[in-house]
């Protein structure tokens, strides 16, 4: 598998740097490998010469394990040319308040005050507004890869402008929300990527999300990524033929190997079946097999084919593998 030096040529890399969208929103149920895919895309973007910022919407420990570092509340180098920032806890709120009030000290007073701070902590939309503000302000990075929390939460983000319209129809925040809403809905600027698994419930949830995103003015997903799938191996017919030979010759260990491989091939076929409803969404489906390697090599192995599918061919996404 192509790792750092076995990847695309220098020319292609330079060409591709320009193709990264301003923002990539990565969402899907937790535990489907969302953080890994976000980190992998950011790593490939950095290798392409872009200046990616990995934005963690939740406080999840998985990123620390994947990249060996934890993002802080101000953008800072995270790993391998990728910058990181966390929106967890008060971080986004302080950043938001500091920007609007032009004073970090004042922002801290606000958040730290017993009554005002309590009110901010209790109000439903504050965290989302603050996160959206941070996303709005980070235009010096591209792509900004946002690792969003669970699907429902992502939807709240995307609908924030409309949700808050009863209370915020005018003023700076309303302007920001309107601007961000338009930018997030603009496929030229923002790529929404839905990560899922080849399992009935995860697939059902993803198709439901695609349906609910079909309203006019809503965000159209750039791609669905089916993560952690069983790698495609030799053809079942070849496996069966060799297995028959092994059985006849009494080569038990080899027969057991082939039995295992046959089960994997069946599992891979079953995964395709379970993921079939995804093709009905009209959103391109990318197949991302699990990789045996670990660390940086694994991130490249995962990120490189996805980046190629997302960015190459003039931004037109084609299915890789899923339809074959």
């Amino acid at each position: 598998m192509a790792v750092s030096d076995g990847g695309p040529s220098r020319d292609r890399i330079r060409d591709r740097r320009e193709r990264w969208p301003q923002r990539i929103l990565v969402t899907g149920k937790g535990g489907v490998g969302k953080s890994t895919i976000a980190a992998a895309l950011a790593l490939v973007a950095a290798r392409d010469g872009a200046q990616p910022l990995l934005m963690e919407a939740g406080a999840r420990a998985s990123l620390a394990r994947i990249v060996g570092a934890t993002p802080t509340d101000v953008p800072a180098p995270l790993f391998e040319g990728v910058y990181g920032v966390s929106l967890a806890g008060d971080a986004a709120l302080v950043a938001f308040a500091a920007d609007v009030l032009h004073s970090r000290r004042l922002a801290r007073v606000l958040v730290g005050h017993r009554a005002i701070g309590t009110l901010m902590a209790a109000m439903p939309a504050v965290a989302e507004v603050a996160a959206m503000h941070v996303l709005d302000r980070r235009r010096d990075y591209a792509p900004v890869v946002v690792d969003l929390e669970a699907t429902g939460h992502a939807q709240m983000w995307l609908e924030l402008r409309d949700t808050l319209s009863p209370v915020m129809s005018r003023g700076g925040i309303a302007d920001m929300l309107a601007r961000m809403h338009d930018e997030l809905a603009d496929p030229g600027r923002t790529a929404l990527v839905l990560v899922t698994r080849a399992e009935p419930l995860a697939v059902a949830e993803t198709t439901e999300l695609c349906e609910s995103l079909q309203q006019p003015g809503s965000v159209r997903p750039r791609a669905i990524i089916v993560a952690g799938t069983t790698p495609t191996g030799p053809a079942l017919a070849d496996i069966a033929r060799l297995r028959a030979v092994a059985d006849a010759r009494g080569a038990a260990a080899v027969r057991d190997d082939l039995d295992y491989l046959a089960r994997e091939a069946q599992r891979a076929a079953h995964e395709r079946e379970m993921a079939a409803p995804l093709h009905g969404t009209g959103v391109p489906v990318l197949w991302s097999p699990r990789v045996a390697s670990e660390g940086r090599a694994a991130l490249f192995a995962i990120g490189e084919p996805l980046a190629a599918a997302l960015l190459d061919h003039d931004g037109v996404v084609t299915s890789t593998g899923g339809d074959r």
Partner: protein, 364 residues
């Protein structure tokens, strides 16, 4: 396992998303129902297929699940706006105030699709089911990861805001005493900062809404206190539900920490979708293997190599998963663990039957 379900009044399933938490919660509820307990499972965010398998519509009122065999199982899924509306109906002292709340822009914005409102609504809903359901056992499925833990903070967060001193200061009423003086220090600056941050219109709306909350305060405080107490009652059990792969276990560690910080004790874990254990056959001598089959093609060699590699990789993944999960349970002093293997699921009621059959905690 069954022992736990027989003695508990509330079972809370917590874990990262995508680990089959809703299915496990429903399977636990099914087991309890089979064991003769009148059980209700509350799901916060079920996939539509599971919801239809359980026979629940979009209402947050529990409906009875049609079971083949005996047992009384009820199920409901959270409808946040409906839960808020029902609460206001119940606690508003008069129709005029009720209508002012319903028509308030803050209520209209907040009761809908925001994660923090979901957390409040879920706790309120749980309160209602306890107050009027008459169930022996309630099994609560929670939203994934940090949003799920946030749910347990919802009552305390509301209580902090509804503290008469805090609310009084915000509304410019009272402000005496030590707390009042502390808040007055820097208070004017913080207030102006908040106003500048949110805008004058929204800030005025917020204060106006807080004025309405002040009237409802005693009822909300009573309910919030009741829910905080319910989570800490002796017959409440927290069950961690998780897969055994590294990313899921990382997330679970964070959740377990958050529960520990809140003094919510965890005694049970369900390891879901555990990969099957495979013995590592060791490295393959491809030439010898080919010879033993009387073959010599490079293509056949490639298949044999792929087969051994796949099997060894699976053995390694399975061993690592089991070790990591066992280690997690040991380090967190979780005594009761259940292992549910990877199943080919359909997303229907039959999945729940199978999971229920497999849920047998070691150590009772």
């Amino acid at each position: 396992m069954t022992a736990m379900l027989m003695e508990a009044g509330l079972v809370v399933c917590v874990g990262p998303g995508g680990v089959g938490k809703t299915s496990v919660a429903a399977a636990l509820a099914l087991m309890a129902a089979r064991a003769g307990r009148r059980t209700c499972v509350l799901t916060v965010d079920p996939a539509r297929r599971l919801a239809s398998a359980l026979g629940i519509g979009l209402a947050n009122v529990p409906t009875r699940v049609p079971l083949q065999a005996q047992g009384e199982l009820w199920a409901a899924m959270l409808d946040a706006p409906a839960s808020f509306a029902a609460m206001i109906e119940r606690i508003a002292p008069n129709a005029a105030l009720r209508d002012r709340v319903f028509e308030h822009p803050m209520y209209r914005a907040g009761a809908g699709g925001l994660s923090r409102s979901h957390a409040y609504a879920a706790m309120e809903w749980l309160h209602e089911v306890f107050a009027h359901g008459g169930y022996d056992l309630v099994v609560l499925d929670t939203p994934p990861a940090s949003v799920g833990v946030e749910m347990f903070d919802a009552p305390a967060r509301l209580l902090a805001l509804l503290d008469p001193k805090v609310l009084g200061w915000l509304l410019g009423k009272g402000g005496g005493g030590v707390a009042g003086r502390v808040m007055a220090g820097g208070g004017a600056i913080a207030r102006r900062a908040a106003q500048a941050l949110l805008g004058e219109g929204p800030w005025a709306d917020i204060l106006d809404f807080l004025g309405l909350l002040l009237v409802l305060q005693p009822a909300i405080v009573e309910r919030s206190n009741a829910m905080s107490a319910r989570l800490r009652q002796a017959d409440t059990r927290f069950v961690l539900v998780c897969r055994t792969d590294a990313p899921a276990l990382d997330d679970l560690g964070q959740i377990a920490d958050a529960l520990a910080e809140r003094s919510l004790p965890v005694g049970h874990a369900v390891w879901n979708r555990v990969p099957e254990a495979i013995d590592d056959p060791g490295a393959l001598d491809v030439d010898a293997a080919l010879a033993s089959l009387g073959l010599d093609s490079a293509d056949d060699a490639a298949v044999l190599r792929a087969a051994r590699t796949a099997r060894r990789e699976a053995a390694r993944i399975a061993a690592r998963a089991r070790t990591a999960a066992a280690q997690f349970a040991r380090s967190r002093r979780i005594v009761h663990t259940a292992w549910v293997p990877e199943l080919e699921t359909t997303g229907g009621l039959d999945d729940l039957e199978r999971i229920a059959g497999l849920l047998d905690f070691a150590g009772g």
